[in-house]
């Protein structure tokens, strides 16, 4: 077979496998975004142009930040992978609809720069980028992102006080009159999109059904919230709110399904996922009850973000190894 006789040149060479199940990173990001769309519609129908403004500014500034930073860092520009869009959307979802535009820009820029790119870009972030951005805003301009203040200018057919503030100020008795179903359906003040608890839950279940996220983190999160809240509630039900209250108010749902499940800042192993989720739930309630700040969800997730590399060390035994050594 002299080489001159070799026919069929220029065939493609690559390593196995020669097929792929078809999913991709950007596919996953856009699935996340689709899962949030019902809540987007809900937010706009409730807060009108304000919600549309927050969402638009947030997405635009997240994507612009990504573009500028990737250019500056001389990295390939990858804004169409959907990640920056998702980060912008998530930022909009947890800010109140009244928040000034410059604050959104700062938050998004900070999220993308410090939260994502400084850690090495896609896949490198140990913290959820949006939550890092949010923490910055929270410590610099706490009043602007306060959900109760944020809701003051709207005529809503429910209380404009953030239920967790009420709980903090006036105790469990003050919130016992609230209709949980109402809260669950989204009749509570809170983040622009995050308060649509039911729709967020549906979006999250959609993500699980599409195989984009595992059920382990969100469900162990909810279990963690329920378990921890139950302990307090059983100890003193006059002082502490019941578990169901903790699940339906605030950012638990969006935290469990959309923030704690961020690929890069959560564990990849199954057991570690369960512990991580449960830990998030546990600290959510602890922060809500023991700290001055009722936004336990975000701090709890950020706290667990620190621990996750450690948790990921818990890995299963190798079956072949067990077999040989036995």
């Amino acid at each position: 077979m002299p080489s001159s006789e070799i026919k069929y040149r220029n065939l493609v060479i690559s390593s196995a496998p020669h097929i792929h199940e078809g999913r991709s990173y950007s596919g996953a990001m856009y699935t996340f975004i689709i899962a949030l769309l019902p809540a987007v519609i809900f937010a706009i129908s409730r807060y009108g142009m304000d919600a549309a403004r927050v969402i638009a500014v947030s997405i635009a500034s997240a994507m612009a930040s990504e573009y500028i930073i990737q250019k500056l860092f001389r990295k390939p520009v990858a804004i169409n992978d959907g990640n920056a869009l998702l980060m912008g959307l998530l930022m909009a979802f947890i800010l109140p609809p009244s928040v000034p535009w410059w604050l959104i820009v700062v938050g998004c820029f900070f999220s993308i720069l410090v939260g994502k790119q400084i850690f090495g870009g896609r896949g490198g972030n140990t913290f959820h980028p949006v939550l890092l951005g949010w923490v910055t805003l929270r410590f610099s301009w706490a009043d602007y992102i306060n959900y109760s203040y944020g809701a003051i200018n709207y005529t809503l057919n429910f209380s404009v006080e953030y239920p967790l503030h009420v709980l903090k100020k006036s105790g469990a008795a003050a919130v016992s009159g609230l209709n949980y179903l109402d809260l669950f359906l989204g009749n509570q003040v809170g983040g622009t999109g995050a308060s649509a608890v039911l729709l967020i839950l549906i979006g999250g279940l959609f993500l699980i059904a599409r195989g984009v996220i595992s059920w382990r983190i969100p469900f162990s999160y909810l279990a963690g919230v329920a378990a921890t809240a139950s302990v307090f509630w059983l100890a003193d039900s006059a002082k502490y709110a019941d578990p169901l209250f903790h699940i339906v108010v605030g950012n638990v749902m969006i935290g469990a399904f959309f923030f704690a499940t961020d690929y890069s800042s959560s564990p990849a192993n199954k057991t570690a996922m369960l512990i991580f989720g449960f830990g998030c739930g546990l600290f959510t309630v602890l922060f809500r009850i023991l700290s001055n700040n009722p936004n336990g969800v975000f701090f709890a997730i950020l706290f667990m973000n620190i621990l996750f590399p450690l948790l990921d060390k818990i890995r299963p035994a190798v079956p072949g190894k067990v077999m040989k050594e036995a």
């Binding site: 069929y8 065939l11 690559s14 196995a16 991709s24 990173y25 690929y263």
Partner: protein, 410 residues
């Protein structure tokens, strides 16, 4: 479908690390089908798959190592070498002697005196997706395989013989499992899922648990052992599945050494620039940059993939989604293995049990970032092997059951 004899065959002989594997042949020498091909010291390297005259001997690198290639101009008058004679009463021979005889004849049979297999598993599942060899061999050569199982039961000293088949082959398997009034094997129905058909995985997929050191063998291989013992003819054929760009499959019986281009012609498959030619199935096959490679005993399939269907796996960053961990049959950490390999931290790969990776390809199949995980892992394994060789010459591999490259080594 039987593929006709090509005008020219190419016999590949794997070179060992210390440069062995040079056949004592010269151009113009004539060889006969089934004839032994040995090196200068008389060590058996291969059997000639065809009758003809040697045209050229040269080096030929393949993805999985270096080979010596022997081009043979085939003669249409296909005659068996006169030394191919069956062994009388082979069944009654002393088991140890029979095992050494088979090993000396180039068959890979992992039966050692000190560590007997605790079960014999006839693996009728397939080694890869889209492949359908074993099921056809089981259906077609049931009688030979039954004799083979009887023999294995005897020489392995194990009472447990399991025929692992997909559910639709139950009837064939039952026929093989029962000899007259005596049952020699149990039939275990498995879902025909990948990678159950891999020899490392199938013991775990069985309904019988606790098998630790099984002898796993495919119908094709067992058939060739019995044919060798009864007629003296070493395996010169290979069953393969030819898969075209629309995943239409044809099962073929091919003479070993037949160039793939010849098979493609007979199967009426055209291949053009930027298509992919895969030796093997979709999950584990090795791609080839031209079609003149010959069929060897370790190729179960030949697949042509259209240029539009070619998937690109690359080196995008891992996002830690955990999908690869979820599918790994050996519960490894493919994302970490690939990452350490990428950054040349091969020792860390060992800490993460890289040796237990069976290269099934599932991790890369699901990877969210479409990373070439298996590529990285294989690379790290090679580097580790190199390091081990440089570091310690004392580790010599045990040759028992290594088999010849021209044999269906499974």
């Amino acid at each position: 479908m039987d593929v006709s004899l090509p005008k020219q065959s190419v016999l590949l002989i794997k070179k060992s690390a210390n440069g062995e594997g040079m056949p004592a042949l010269s151009s113009g020498e004539s060889i006969k089908t089934g004839g032994k091909i040995s090196d200068a010291e008389g060590k058996l390297l291969a059997y000639s798959p065809v009758t003809g005259t040697v045209a050229e001997i040269y080096n030929l690198p393949r993805v999985d190592g270096d080979f010596t290639a022997v081009d043979v101009n085939t003669s249409e008058n296909d005659v068996w070498d006169e030394n191919c004679r069956g062994i009388d009463n082979y069944f009654d021979r002393e088991p140890g002697a029979l095992v050494s005889l088979l090993c000396d004849s180039g068959f890979a049979l992992d039966i050692r005196k000190d560590e007997r297999p605790d079960a014999v598993i006839l693996n009728c599942l397939e080694s890869d997706l889209l492949v359908s060899i074993n099921r056809n061999v089981l259906a077609e050569y049931g009688d030979t395989i039954r004799r083979g199982l009887r023999l294995l039961k005897r020489i392995s000293g194990s009472d447990i013989v399991i025929i692992a088949v997909p559910g639709d082959l139950r009837d064939f398997a039952e026929k093989v499992a029962v000899d007259g009034s005596e049952r020699i094997a149990v039939v275990d129905l498995l879902k025909p899922l990948y990678p159950f058909g891999m020899k490392e995985i199938i013991p775990r997929a069985l309904s019988r648990k606790g098998i630790r050191r099984p002898l796993v063998i495919t119908p094709e291989y067992l058939n060739s052992i019995i044919v060798f013992l009864e007629h003296g003819s070493p395996p010169v054929h290979k069953f393969i599945t030819l898969i075209d760009r629309n995943n239409v499959r044809i099962n073929m019986k091919v003479r070993i050494g037949t160039p793939i281009s010849h098979i493609l012609r007979e199967g009426n498959i055209k291949i053009s620039e930027l298509d992919k030619l895969v030796l093997g199935g979709t999950m584990r096959g090795k791609s080839s940059f031209h079609a003149e490679f010959p069929v060897t005993a370790d190729i179960d399939a030949i697949m042509v993939q259209d240029r539009d269907a070619v998937v690109t796996l690359g080196n995008e960053a891992c996002v830690n989604c955990g999908k690869c961990i979820g599918v790994c049959p050996n519960k490894l950490q493919p994302h970490l293995l690939a990452r350490y390999s990428e950054f040349s931290l091969f020792e860390r790969c060992r800490d993460y049990d890289i040796d237990y990776c069976i290269e099934c390809g599932l991790c890369a199949y699901v990877c969210t970032s479409r990373r070439a995980l298996v590529h990285y892992i294989v690379f790290a394994k090679k580097e580790l092997a190199k390091m081990a060789k440089e570091g310690d010459h004392a580790i010599e591999s045990d040759n028992i059951g290594e088999g010849l490259a021209c044999h269906p080594v499974k």
